[in-house]
Symmetry: C2
Subunit: 300 residues, 2 copies
Protein backbone atom coordinates (compact mmCIF):
# COMPACT_ATOMS: atom_id res chain seq x y z
CA UNK A 1 0.00 0.00 0.00
CA UNK A 2 1.36 3.37 -0.96
CA UNK A 3 1.46 6.31 1.41
CA UNK A 4 -1.74 8.35 1.79
CA UNK A 5 -3.18 10.70 4.37
CA UNK A 6 -6.18 12.97 4.84
CA UNK A 7 -7.04 15.80 7.24
CA UNK A 8 -10.34 17.45 8.02
CA UNK A 9 -9.79 21.18 8.53
CA UNK A 10 -11.78 23.43 10.85
CA UNK A 11 -11.31 26.61 8.81
CA UNK A 12 -10.59 29.89 10.53
CA UNK A 13 -11.73 33.31 9.28
CA UNK A 14 -9.10 35.13 7.21
CA UNK A 15 -8.64 37.72 9.94
CA UNK A 16 -8.11 35.24 12.81
CA UNK A 17 -4.90 36.42 14.51
CA UNK A 18 -3.62 33.13 15.93
CA UNK A 19 -0.29 31.74 14.72
CA UNK A 20 -0.49 28.24 16.20
CA UNK A 21 -2.83 26.12 14.12
CA UNK A 22 -2.44 22.80 15.92
CA UNK A 23 -5.90 21.58 16.82
CA UNK A 24 -7.57 23.22 13.82
CA UNK A 25 -7.03 20.13 11.66
CA UNK A 26 -7.13 16.43 12.37
CA UNK A 27 -6.01 13.32 10.50
CA UNK A 28 -8.72 10.99 9.23
CA UNK A 29 -8.66 7.67 7.40
CA UNK A 30 -8.68 8.62 3.67
CA UNK A 31 -10.98 5.66 2.93
CA UNK A 32 -13.38 6.02 5.85
CA UNK A 33 -16.68 7.89 5.67
CA UNK A 34 -15.91 11.56 6.33
CA UNK A 35 -18.28 13.84 4.43
CA UNK A 36 -22.03 14.04 4.93
CA UNK A 37 -24.22 13.19 1.94
CA UNK A 38 -25.58 16.74 2.28
CA UNK A 39 -22.21 18.39 1.64
CA UNK A 40 -22.41 20.79 -1.29
CA UNK A 41 -19.15 19.43 -2.71
CA UNK A 42 -20.73 16.06 -3.44
CA UNK A 43 -24.15 17.49 -4.35
CA UNK A 44 -23.29 20.51 -6.49
CA UNK A 45 -19.54 20.53 -7.16
CA UNK A 46 -19.85 23.76 -5.19
CA UNK A 47 -16.38 24.43 -3.91
CA UNK A 48 -12.78 25.11 -4.88
CA UNK A 49 -9.46 23.30 -4.75
CA UNK A 50 -5.73 23.31 -5.39
CA UNK A 51 -3.33 20.45 -6.16
CA UNK A 52 0.13 21.05 -4.73
CA UNK A 53 3.13 18.90 -5.58
CA UNK A 54 5.33 17.67 -2.72
CA UNK A 55 8.90 16.68 -3.65
CA UNK A 56 11.04 15.13 -0.94
CA UNK A 57 8.85 16.62 1.76
CA UNK A 58 8.76 20.14 0.28
CA UNK A 59 5.39 21.54 -0.90
CA UNK A 60 5.98 23.37 -4.19
CA UNK A 61 4.78 26.93 -4.80
CA UNK A 62 2.55 26.94 -1.75
CA UNK A 63 2.19 30.73 -1.88
CA UNK A 64 0.95 30.95 -5.49
CA UNK A 65 -1.38 27.99 -4.90
CA UNK A 66 -2.90 29.59 -1.79
CA UNK A 67 -3.21 32.93 -3.57
CA UNK A 68 -5.09 31.20 -6.39
CA UNK A 69 -7.35 29.45 -3.85
CA UNK A 70 -8.20 32.84 -2.35
CA UNK A 71 -8.88 34.17 -5.87
CA UNK A 72 -11.21 31.20 -6.53
CA UNK A 73 -12.96 31.88 -3.21
CA UNK A 74 -13.63 35.49 -4.18
CA UNK A 75 -14.96 34.50 -7.62
CA UNK A 76 -17.32 31.94 -6.08
CA UNK A 77 -18.50 34.07 -3.11
CA UNK A 78 -16.92 31.65 -0.65
CA UNK A 79 -15.31 32.97 2.55
CA UNK A 80 -11.72 33.95 1.81
CA UNK A 81 -9.66 31.34 3.63
CA UNK A 82 -7.07 31.96 6.33
CA UNK A 83 -3.95 31.42 4.24
CA UNK A 84 -1.59 31.21 7.23
CA UNK A 85 -3.68 28.36 8.59
CA UNK A 86 -3.87 26.54 5.25
CA UNK A 87 -0.11 26.98 4.74
CA UNK A 88 0.50 25.37 8.14
CA UNK A 89 -1.80 22.46 7.25
CA UNK A 90 -0.12 21.94 3.85
CA UNK A 91 3.34 22.06 5.41
CA UNK A 92 2.29 19.61 8.10
CA UNK A 93 1.00 17.17 5.48
CA UNK A 94 4.08 17.60 3.29
CA UNK A 95 6.34 16.85 6.22
CA UNK A 96 4.61 13.44 6.62
CA UNK A 97 5.28 12.47 2.99
CA UNK A 98 8.18 10.06 2.42
CA UNK A 99 10.96 11.00 -0.07
CA UNK A 100 9.74 11.17 -3.66
CA UNK A 101 6.81 12.83 -5.41
CA UNK A 102 3.42 13.26 -3.78
CA UNK A 103 0.34 15.35 -4.43
CA UNK A 104 -1.46 17.32 -1.74
CA UNK A 105 -4.98 18.35 -2.63
CA UNK A 106 -6.63 21.11 -0.61
CA UNK A 107 -10.40 21.36 -1.02
CA UNK A 108 -13.07 23.67 0.35
CA UNK A 109 -16.80 23.34 -0.26
CA UNK A 110 -19.55 25.80 0.58
CA UNK A 111 -20.59 23.47 3.40
CA UNK A 112 -23.48 21.25 4.38
CA UNK A 113 -27.08 22.04 3.44
CA UNK A 114 -28.89 20.02 6.09
CA UNK A 115 -32.41 20.65 4.95
CA UNK A 116 -31.78 20.34 1.23
CA UNK A 117 -32.01 23.08 -1.44
CA UNK A 118 -33.29 26.39 -0.13
CA UNK A 119 -32.29 25.65 3.45
CA UNK A 120 -29.46 27.14 5.49
CA UNK A 121 -25.85 26.20 4.86
CA UNK A 122 -23.37 25.30 7.57
CA UNK A 123 -19.90 25.79 6.21
CA UNK A 124 -17.42 25.84 4.70
CA UNK A 125 -16.18 22.24 4.75
CA UNK A 126 -12.45 21.88 4.13
CA UNK A 127 -10.17 18.91 3.82
CA UNK A 128 -6.79 17.86 2.49
CA UNK A 129 -5.57 14.63 0.97
CA UNK A 130 -2.04 13.50 0.18
CA UNK A 131 -1.09 10.55 -2.00
CA UNK A 132 1.86 9.28 -3.96
CA UNK A 133 1.95 10.96 -7.37
CA UNK A 134 1.50 8.75 -10.43
CA UNK A 135 4.79 8.09 -12.27
CA UNK A 136 5.12 10.88 -14.87
CA UNK A 137 8.47 9.75 -16.31
CA UNK A 138 7.04 8.67 -19.66
CA UNK A 139 5.08 11.91 -20.14
CA UNK A 140 8.09 14.06 -19.17
CA UNK A 141 10.62 12.18 -21.31
CA UNK A 142 8.72 10.73 -24.25
CA UNK A 143 6.00 13.38 -24.37
CA UNK A 144 2.26 13.35 -24.94
CA UNK A 145 -0.19 13.50 -27.82
CA UNK A 146 -2.95 16.07 -27.49
CA UNK A 147 -6.12 16.93 -29.36
CA UNK A 148 -7.78 20.33 -29.37
CA UNK A 149 -11.36 20.36 -28.07
CA UNK A 150 -13.85 23.21 -28.34
CA UNK A 151 -14.66 24.60 -24.86
CA UNK A 152 -17.89 26.05 -26.28
CA UNK A 153 -17.10 29.60 -25.10
CA UNK A 154 -15.90 32.46 -27.28
CA UNK A 155 -12.97 34.65 -26.19
CA UNK A 156 -15.26 37.26 -24.66
CA UNK A 157 -17.32 34.95 -22.44
CA UNK A 158 -15.23 35.24 -19.27
CA UNK A 159 -15.29 39.04 -19.20
CA UNK A 160 -18.95 39.18 -20.20
CA UNK A 161 -20.29 36.54 -17.81
CA UNK A 162 -18.36 36.21 -14.53
CA UNK A 163 -21.00 33.74 -13.23
CA UNK A 164 -19.41 31.20 -15.59
CA UNK A 165 -16.54 31.12 -13.03
CA UNK A 166 -14.01 30.66 -15.82
CA UNK A 167 -11.05 31.89 -13.77
CA UNK A 168 -11.95 29.89 -10.66
CA UNK A 169 -10.64 26.40 -9.91
CA UNK A 170 -13.93 24.86 -8.80
CA UNK A 171 -14.92 21.33 -7.87
CA UNK A 172 -17.24 21.25 -10.92
CA UNK A 173 -14.80 19.36 -13.13
CA UNK A 174 -17.17 16.97 -14.92
CA UNK A 175 -16.47 18.68 -18.27
CA UNK A 176 -12.71 18.54 -17.69
CA UNK A 177 -12.98 14.82 -16.97
CA UNK A 178 -15.21 14.27 -20.03
CA UNK A 179 -12.65 16.09 -22.22
CA UNK A 180 -9.89 13.76 -20.99
CA UNK A 181 -12.06 10.73 -21.85
CA UNK A 182 -12.75 12.21 -25.31
CA UNK A 183 -9.01 12.76 -25.86
CA UNK A 184 -8.33 9.11 -24.99
CA UNK A 185 -11.10 7.96 -27.31
CA UNK A 186 -9.27 9.84 -30.07
CA UNK A 187 -6.01 8.06 -29.27
CA UNK A 188 -4.41 11.02 -27.49
CA UNK A 189 -3.12 11.42 -23.95
CA UNK A 190 -4.61 14.80 -23.15
CA UNK A 191 -6.79 17.61 -24.47
CA UNK A 192 -6.24 21.32 -25.10
CA UNK A 193 -9.37 23.43 -24.77
CA UNK A 194 -9.86 26.09 -27.44
CA UNK A 195 -12.48 28.83 -27.73
CA UNK A 196 -15.31 28.62 -30.24
CA UNK A 197 -13.58 31.46 -32.11
CA UNK A 198 -10.30 29.56 -32.38
CA UNK A 199 -7.98 30.56 -29.53
CA UNK A 200 -6.00 28.28 -27.24
CA UNK A 201 -7.21 28.22 -23.62
CA UNK A 202 -5.72 25.55 -21.35
CA UNK A 203 -5.72 21.80 -20.83
CA UNK A 204 -8.33 20.25 -18.49
CA UNK A 205 -5.71 20.05 -15.71
CA UNK A 206 -2.66 21.88 -17.13
CA UNK A 207 -1.39 25.09 -18.75
CA UNK A 208 -0.20 25.32 -22.37
CA UNK A 209 3.22 26.82 -23.19
CA UNK A 210 4.33 27.17 -26.81
CA UNK A 211 7.73 28.04 -28.23
CA UNK A 212 8.00 30.35 -31.22
CA UNK A 213 11.63 30.84 -32.22
CA UNK A 214 13.40 31.68 -28.99
CA UNK A 215 10.29 33.01 -27.23
CA UNK A 216 7.97 31.08 -24.90
CA UNK A 217 4.31 32.08 -24.83
CA UNK A 218 1.22 31.11 -22.90
CA UNK A 219 -2.39 32.17 -23.42
CA UNK A 220 -3.25 35.31 -21.51
CA UNK A 221 -4.93 34.45 -18.17
CA UNK A 222 -7.56 37.16 -18.63
CA UNK A 223 -10.30 35.36 -16.76
CA UNK A 224 -10.99 32.62 -19.27
CA UNK A 225 -8.30 30.35 -17.90
CA UNK A 226 -6.46 29.72 -14.67
CA UNK A 227 -3.10 31.32 -14.02
CA UNK A 228 -0.79 28.29 -13.97
CA UNK A 229 1.44 28.07 -10.91
CA UNK A 230 3.88 25.70 -12.64
CA UNK A 231 3.81 27.91 -15.75
CA UNK A 232 4.90 30.86 -13.59
CA UNK A 233 7.86 28.84 -12.29
CA UNK A 234 8.73 27.65 -15.79
CA UNK A 235 8.74 31.24 -17.05
CA UNK A 236 11.09 32.24 -14.18
CA UNK A 237 13.53 29.54 -15.23
CA UNK A 238 13.23 30.35 -18.94
CA UNK A 239 13.89 34.05 -18.28
CA UNK A 240 16.91 33.19 -16.14
CA UNK A 241 18.18 31.12 -19.04
CA UNK A 242 17.86 33.97 -21.51
CA UNK A 243 14.55 33.06 -23.15
CA UNK A 244 11.94 35.80 -23.51
CA UNK A 245 8.50 34.85 -22.24
CA UNK A 246 5.12 36.41 -22.69
CA UNK A 247 1.33 36.23 -22.60
CA UNK A 248 -0.63 36.42 -25.86
CA UNK A 249 -3.88 35.49 -27.50
CA UNK A 250 -2.73 32.27 -29.15
CA UNK A 251 -4.70 31.16 -32.23
CA UNK A 252 -5.06 27.41 -32.65
CA UNK A 253 -2.89 27.65 -35.79
CA UNK A 254 -0.03 28.95 -33.62
CA UNK A 255 -0.19 25.75 -31.58
CA UNK A 256 -0.26 23.59 -34.71
CA UNK A 257 2.75 25.52 -36.11
CA UNK A 258 4.66 25.92 -32.83
CA UNK A 259 8.41 25.23 -32.71
CA UNK A 260 7.62 23.22 -29.57
CA UNK A 261 4.87 23.06 -26.95
CA UNK A 262 4.29 21.69 -23.47
CA UNK A 263 1.53 21.07 -21.00
CA UNK A 264 2.73 22.07 -17.55
CA UNK A 265 1.04 21.20 -14.26
CA UNK A 266 1.91 20.71 -10.61
CA UNK A 267 2.20 16.93 -10.58
CA UNK A 268 3.22 15.92 -14.11
CA UNK A 269 5.39 19.07 -14.52
CA UNK A 270 6.48 19.81 -18.12
CA UNK A 271 5.19 17.25 -20.63
CA UNK A 272 6.41 17.98 -24.17
CA UNK A 273 3.69 17.73 -26.80
CA UNK A 274 4.69 15.36 -29.60
CA UNK A 275 1.50 15.65 -31.65
CA UNK A 276 -1.38 18.14 -31.84
CA UNK A 277 -4.43 16.75 -33.61
CA UNK A 278 -2.19 14.11 -35.18
CA UNK A 279 0.34 16.65 -36.46
CA UNK A 280 3.90 16.18 -35.19
CA UNK A 281 5.63 18.92 -33.19
CA UNK A 282 9.39 19.20 -32.63
CA UNK A 283 10.48 18.13 -29.13
CA UNK A 284 13.51 19.67 -27.43
CA UNK A 285 14.47 16.85 -25.08
CA UNK A 286 17.44 18.61 -23.49
CA UNK A 287 15.57 21.78 -22.67
CA UNK A 288 12.60 19.77 -21.35
CA UNK A 289 14.87 17.67 -19.13
CA UNK A 290 16.60 20.77 -17.76
CA UNK A 291 13.25 22.46 -17.12
CA UNK A 292 11.88 19.41 -15.30
CA UNK A 293 15.06 19.13 -13.22
CA UNK A 294 14.48 22.73 -12.17
CA UNK A 295 10.78 22.12 -11.46
CA UNK A 296 11.69 19.14 -9.24
CA UNK A 297 13.85 21.41 -7.05
CA UNK A 298 12.28 23.09 -4.00
CA UNK A 299 10.30 26.21 -4.95
CA UNK A 300 8.13 28.50 -2.84
CA UNK B 1 -36.64 19.02 13.43
CA UNK B 2 -38.17 18.35 10.04
CA UNK B 3 -38.24 14.90 8.49
CA UNK B 4 -35.10 13.78 6.63
CA UNK B 5 -33.61 10.47 5.58
CA UNK B 6 -30.68 9.15 3.56
CA UNK B 7 -29.79 5.78 2.05
CA UNK B 8 -26.51 4.48 0.70
CA UNK B 9 -27.17 2.33 -2.37
CA UNK B 10 -25.14 -0.66 -3.49
CA UNK B 11 -25.85 -0.27 -7.20
CA UNK B 12 -26.61 -3.32 -9.32
CA UNK B 13 -25.68 -3.67 -13.00
CA UNK B 14 -28.51 -2.73 -15.38
CA UNK B 15 -28.91 -6.36 -16.45
CA UNK B 16 -29.15 -7.83 -12.93
CA UNK B 17 -32.30 -10.00 -13.03
CA UNK B 18 -33.34 -9.83 -9.38
CA UNK B 19 -36.68 -8.28 -8.46
CA UNK B 20 -36.26 -8.04 -4.68
CA UNK B 21 -33.97 -5.13 -3.86
CA UNK B 22 -34.11 -5.29 -0.07
CA UNK B 23 -30.56 -5.40 1.19
CA UNK B 24 -29.13 -3.38 -1.71
CA UNK B 25 -29.70 -0.10 0.13
CA UNK B 26 -29.42 0.91 3.75
CA UNK B 27 -30.51 3.93 5.77
CA UNK B 28 -27.79 6.22 7.12
CA UNK B 29 -27.83 9.32 9.28
CA UNK B 30 -28.09 12.23 6.78
CA UNK B 31 -25.72 14.30 8.95
CA UNK B 32 -23.18 11.62 9.77
CA UNK B 33 -19.96 11.09 7.80
CA UNK B 34 -20.83 8.83 4.85
CA UNK B 35 -18.68 9.60 1.81
CA UNK B 36 -14.92 9.22 1.62
CA UNK B 37 -12.89 12.36 0.93
CA UNK B 38 -11.65 10.54 -2.18
CA UNK B 39 -15.11 10.22 -3.73
CA UNK B 40 -15.20 11.79 -7.18
CA UNK B 41 -18.49 13.54 -6.39
CA UNK B 42 -16.83 15.75 -3.80
CA UNK B 43 -13.52 16.07 -5.71
CA UNK B 44 -14.64 16.61 -9.30
CA UNK B 45 -18.42 17.04 -9.38
CA UNK B 46 -18.11 13.85 -11.41
CA UNK B 47 -21.52 12.25 -11.22
CA UNK B 48 -25.20 12.68 -12.03
CA UNK B 49 -28.43 13.24 -10.13
CA UNK B 50 -32.20 13.66 -10.19
CA UNK B 51 -34.51 15.54 -7.82
CA UNK B 52 -37.90 13.87 -7.48
CA UNK B 53 -40.86 15.46 -5.74
CA UNK B 54 -42.82 13.38 -3.24
CA UNK B 55 -46.38 14.50 -2.53
CA UNK B 56 -48.30 12.69 0.21
CA UNK B 57 -45.98 9.70 -0.10
CA UNK B 58 -46.15 9.45 -3.90
CA UNK B 59 -42.92 10.00 -5.88
CA UNK B 60 -43.79 12.12 -8.93
CA UNK B 61 -42.77 11.13 -12.47
CA UNK B 62 -40.34 8.48 -11.27
CA UNK B 63 -40.16 6.91 -14.73
CA UNK B 64 -39.16 10.09 -16.61
CA UNK B 65 -36.67 10.97 -13.85
CA UNK B 66 -35.03 7.54 -14.01
CA UNK B 67 -34.98 7.64 -17.82
CA UNK B 68 -33.21 11.01 -17.64
CA UNK B 69 -30.74 9.62 -15.08
CA UNK B 70 -29.92 6.79 -17.51
CA UNK B 71 -29.51 9.37 -20.30
CA UNK B 72 -27.13 11.38 -18.09
CA UNK B 73 -25.19 8.18 -17.34
CA UNK B 74 -24.72 7.46 -21.04
CA UNK B 75 -23.57 11.02 -21.77
CA UNK B 76 -21.01 10.88 -18.95
CA UNK B 77 -19.74 7.33 -19.61
CA UNK B 78 -21.06 6.14 -16.27
CA UNK B 79 -22.51 2.64 -15.92
CA UNK B 80 -26.17 2.70 -16.89
CA UNK B 81 -28.02 2.16 -13.62
CA UNK B 82 -30.45 -0.62 -12.80
CA UNK B 83 -33.67 1.37 -13.04
CA UNK B 84 -35.83 -1.31 -11.39
CA UNK B 85 -33.55 -1.16 -8.37
CA UNK B 86 -33.51 2.64 -8.23
CA UNK B 87 -37.29 2.76 -8.61
CA UNK B 88 -37.62 0.42 -5.63
CA UNK B 89 -35.28 2.61 -3.58
CA UNK B 90 -37.14 5.81 -4.51
CA UNK B 91 -40.50 4.22 -3.70
CA UNK B 92 -39.18 2.95 -0.38
CA UNK B 93 -37.96 6.43 0.56
CA UNK B 94 -41.19 8.09 -0.59
CA UNK B 95 -43.22 5.70 1.53
CA UNK B 96 -41.34 6.93 4.63
CA UNK B 97 -42.20 10.59 3.94
CA UNK B 98 -45.05 12.06 6.02
CA UNK B 99 -48.00 13.76 4.27
CA UNK B 100 -47.02 16.95 2.44
CA UNK B 101 -44.28 17.88 -0.01
CA UNK B 102 -40.80 16.35 0.11
CA UNK B 103 -37.86 16.14 -2.26
CA UNK B 104 -35.98 12.91 -2.93
CA UNK B 105 -32.56 13.39 -4.48
CA UNK B 106 -30.91 10.40 -6.17
CA UNK B 107 -27.19 10.81 -6.82
CA UNK B 108 -24.52 8.67 -8.44
CA UNK B 109 -20.83 9.51 -8.65
CA UNK B 110 -18.13 7.76 -10.65
CA UNK B 111 -16.83 6.33 -7.39
CA UNK B 112 -13.78 6.55 -5.16
CA UNK B 113 -10.28 7.18 -6.51
CA UNK B 114 -8.24 5.81 -3.65
CA UNK B 115 -4.80 6.69 -4.96
CA UNK B 116 -5.68 10.11 -6.28
CA UNK B 117 -5.70 11.27 -9.93
CA UNK B 118 -4.46 8.68 -12.39
CA UNK B 119 -5.23 5.78 -10.07
CA UNK B 120 -7.99 3.17 -10.30
CA UNK B 121 -11.58 4.01 -9.53
CA UNK B 122 -13.87 1.89 -7.36
CA UNK B 123 -17.44 2.75 -8.16
CA UNK B 124 -19.99 3.99 -8.72
CA UNK B 125 -21.09 5.48 -5.41
CA UNK B 126 -24.83 6.06 -5.11
CA UNK B 127 -27.01 7.56 -2.46
CA UNK B 128 -30.42 9.10 -1.89
CA UNK B 129 -31.61 11.86 0.41
CA UNK B 130 -35.12 12.93 1.29
CA UNK B 131 -36.08 16.16 3.03
CA UNK B 132 -39.09 18.36 3.49
CA UNK B 133 -39.48 20.66 0.49
CA UNK B 134 -39.14 24.40 1.06
CA UNK B 135 -42.51 26.19 1.06
CA UNK B 136 -43.14 27.27 -2.56
CA UNK B 137 -46.50 28.91 -1.98
CA UNK B 138 -45.25 32.46 -2.59
CA UNK B 139 -43.46 31.53 -5.84
CA UNK B 140 -46.48 29.58 -7.12
CA UNK B 141 -49.06 32.22 -6.22
CA UNK B 142 -47.28 35.57 -6.36
CA UNK B 143 -44.71 34.60 -8.98
CA UNK B 144 -41.02 35.28 -9.44
CA UNK B 145 -38.76 37.89 -11.01
CA UNK B 146 -36.09 36.56 -13.34
CA UNK B 147 -33.08 37.97 -15.14
CA UNK B 148 -31.56 36.52 -18.29
CA UNK B 149 -27.90 35.48 -17.97
CA UNK B 150 -25.55 34.55 -20.79
CA UNK B 151 -24.58 30.86 -20.55
CA UNK B 152 -21.50 31.60 -22.68
CA UNK B 153 -22.36 28.95 -25.27
CA UNK B 154 -23.79 29.56 -28.73
CA UNK B 155 -26.74 27.51 -30.01
CA UNK B 156 -24.46 25.06 -31.82
CA UNK B 157 -22.18 24.18 -28.90
CA UNK B 158 -24.07 21.14 -27.61
CA UNK B 159 -24.15 19.39 -30.98
CA UNK B 160 -20.56 20.35 -31.80
CA UNK B 161 -18.98 19.45 -28.46
CA UNK B 162 -20.68 16.59 -26.60
CA UNK B 163 -17.88 16.63 -23.98
CA UNK B 164 -19.51 19.80 -22.63
CA UNK B 165 -22.20 17.43 -21.26
CA UNK B 166 -24.88 20.04 -21.91
CA UNK B 167 -27.76 17.54 -21.92
CA UNK B 168 -26.59 15.69 -18.79
CA UNK B 169 -27.71 16.53 -15.27
CA UNK B 170 -24.29 16.34 -13.62
CA UNK B 171 -23.11 17.13 -10.10
CA UNK B 172 -20.99 19.99 -11.55
CA UNK B 173 -23.49 22.70 -10.67
CA UNK B 174 -21.13 25.46 -9.48
CA UNK B 175 -22.12 27.67 -12.45
CA UNK B 176 -25.83 27.06 -11.83
CA UNK B 177 -25.38 28.10 -8.20
CA UNK B 178 -23.32 31.18 -9.21
CA UNK B 179 -26.07 32.21 -11.64
CA UNK B 180 -28.65 32.03 -8.84
CA UNK B 181 -26.43 34.23 -6.65
CA UNK B 182 -26.02 36.71 -9.53
CA UNK B 183 -29.80 36.81 -10.04
CA UNK B 184 -30.29 37.62 -6.33
CA UNK B 185 -27.61 40.33 -6.52
CA UNK B 186 -29.70 41.86 -9.31
CA UNK B 187 -32.82 41.83 -7.15
CA UNK B 188 -34.41 38.85 -8.92
CA UNK B 189 -35.51 35.46 -7.61
CA UNK B 190 -34.11 33.30 -10.38
CA UNK B 191 -32.14 33.32 -13.62
CA UNK B 192 -32.86 32.21 -17.18
CA UNK B 193 -29.81 31.10 -19.13
CA UNK B 194 -29.58 32.32 -22.73
CA UNK B 195 -27.10 31.45 -25.46
CA UNK B 196 -24.44 33.91 -26.55
CA UNK B 197 -26.40 34.24 -29.83
CA UNK B 198 -29.58 35.19 -28.02
CA UNK B 199 -31.78 32.12 -27.52
CA UNK B 200 -33.51 31.02 -24.34
CA UNK B 201 -32.08 27.85 -22.75
CA UNK B 202 -33.32 26.94 -19.26
CA UNK B 203 -33.12 28.15 -15.68
CA UNK B 204 -30.31 26.85 -13.43
CA UNK B 205 -32.74 24.35 -11.87
CA UNK B 206 -35.95 24.69 -13.91
CA UNK B 207 -37.45 24.66 -17.42
CA UNK B 208 -38.87 27.74 -19.16
CA UNK B 209 -42.40 27.68 -20.64
CA UNK B 210 -43.74 30.72 -22.49
CA UNK B 211 -47.26 31.47 -23.67
CA UNK B 212 -47.82 33.12 -27.04
CA UNK B 213 -51.53 33.65 -27.69
CA UNK B 214 -53.13 30.32 -26.88
CA UNK B 215 -49.95 28.27 -27.49
CA UNK B 216 -47.43 27.14 -24.89
CA UNK B 217 -43.82 26.75 -26.00
CA UNK B 218 -40.58 25.58 -24.46
CA UNK B 219 -37.04 25.71 -25.88
CA UNK B 220 -36.20 22.64 -27.89
CA UNK B 221 -34.27 20.11 -25.77
CA UNK B 222 -31.78 19.41 -28.55
CA UNK B 223 -28.85 18.64 -26.30
CA UNK B 224 -28.20 22.14 -24.99
CA UNK B 225 -30.72 21.83 -22.19
CA UNK B 226 -32.33 19.14 -20.08
CA UNK B 227 -35.70 17.71 -21.00
CA UNK B 228 -37.86 18.92 -18.12
CA UNK B 229 -39.90 16.20 -16.43
CA UNK B 230 -42.33 18.72 -14.91
CA UNK B 231 -42.57 20.51 -18.27
CA UNK B 232 -43.63 17.21 -19.89
CA UNK B 233 -46.41 16.85 -17.31
CA UNK B 234 -47.44 20.47 -17.74
CA UNK B 235 -47.70 20.00 -21.50
CA UNK B 236 -49.88 16.90 -20.97
CA UNK B 237 -52.27 18.93 -18.86
CA UNK B 238 -52.25 21.90 -21.26
CA UNK B 239 -53.02 19.65 -24.23
CA UNK B 240 -55.86 17.98 -22.30
CA UNK B 241 -57.24 21.46 -21.66
CA UNK B 242 -57.18 22.40 -25.31
CA UNK B 243 -53.95 24.42 -25.46
CA UNK B 244 -51.50 23.62 -28.23
CA UNK B 245 -47.93 23.04 -27.03
CA UNK B 246 -44.65 22.89 -28.87
CA UNK B 247 -40.87 23.04 -28.91
CA UNK B 248 -39.14 25.94 -30.65
CA UNK B 249 -35.95 27.94 -30.76
CA UNK B 250 -37.05 30.80 -28.53
CA UNK B 251 -35.25 34.13 -29.04
CA UNK B 252 -34.76 36.21 -25.88
CA UNK B 253 -37.14 38.83 -27.36
CA UNK B 254 -39.90 36.18 -27.39
CA UNK B 255 -39.47 35.79 -23.62
CA UNK B 256 -39.53 39.56 -23.08
CA UNK B 257 -42.68 39.81 -25.24
CA UNK B 258 -44.41 36.64 -24.02
CA UNK B 259 -48.10 36.69 -23.10
CA UNK B 260 -47.04 34.84 -19.95
CA UNK B 261 -44.13 32.65 -18.84
CA UNK B 262 -43.29 30.16 -16.10
CA UNK B 263 -40.34 28.34 -14.63
CA UNK B 264 -41.36 24.76 -13.91
CA UNK B 265 -39.43 22.28 -11.80
CA UNK B 266 -40.03 19.20 -9.67
CA UNK B 267 -40.18 20.84 -6.27
CA UNK B 268 -41.38 24.41 -6.87
CA UNK B 269 -43.69 23.29 -9.72
CA UNK B 270 -45.04 26.13 -11.91
CA UNK B 271 -43.82 29.57 -10.82
CA UNK B 272 -45.29 32.37 -12.97
CA UNK B 273 -42.74 34.94 -14.08
CA UNK B 274 -43.81 38.46 -13.13
CA UNK B 275 -40.76 40.29 -14.50
CA UNK B 276 -38.01 39.47 -17.01
CA UNK B 277 -35.01 41.78 -16.75
CA UNK B 278 -37.26 44.28 -14.94
CA UNK B 279 -39.96 44.19 -17.61
CA UNK B 280 -43.39 43.12 -16.40
CA UNK B 281 -45.12 40.06 -17.84
CA UNK B 282 -48.85 39.28 -17.60
CA UNK B 283 -49.67 36.58 -15.03
CA UNK B 284 -52.64 34.24 -15.45
CA UNK B 285 -53.34 33.38 -11.83
CA UNK B 286 -56.27 31.05 -12.50
CA UNK B 287 -54.48 28.97 -15.09
CA UNK B 288 -51.35 28.81 -12.90
CA UNK B 289 -53.39 27.67 -9.89
CA UNK B 290 -55.15 24.99 -11.95
CA UNK B 291 -51.83 23.79 -13.39
CA UNK B 292 -50.23 23.57 -9.94
CA UNK B 293 -53.26 21.73 -8.57
CA UNK B 294 -52.75 19.19 -11.35
CA UNK B 295 -48.99 18.97 -10.74
CA UNK B 296 -49.62 18.28 -7.03
CA UNK B 297 -51.73 15.23 -7.95
CA UNK B 298 -50.04 11.83 -8.20
CA UNK B 299 -48.26 11.35 -11.53
CA UNK B 300 -46.05 8.52 -12.79
Amino acid sequence: MTFRLAYLIDTLPAEDPRTDFAGTFAPIDPDAPALSVSDLSSNRGDGIFESIAVVDGHPQETGPHLDRLAHSARLTDLPVPNLAQLRAVVEHAAAQCPPGEYTVRLLMSRGVQHGGPGQGIHGPTAWLTAAQAPDSTAARERGIRVVTLDRGYDSGAAARAPWLLLGAKTLSYAVNMAALREAKRRGADDAVFVTSDGYVLEAPTATVIIRRGDAFLTPEPTGGILQGTTQLSAFDWLEENGHPTGYEHVPVAALHDADAAWLVSSTRLAAPITHVDGRELPVDRDLTAALNAYLLGPRD
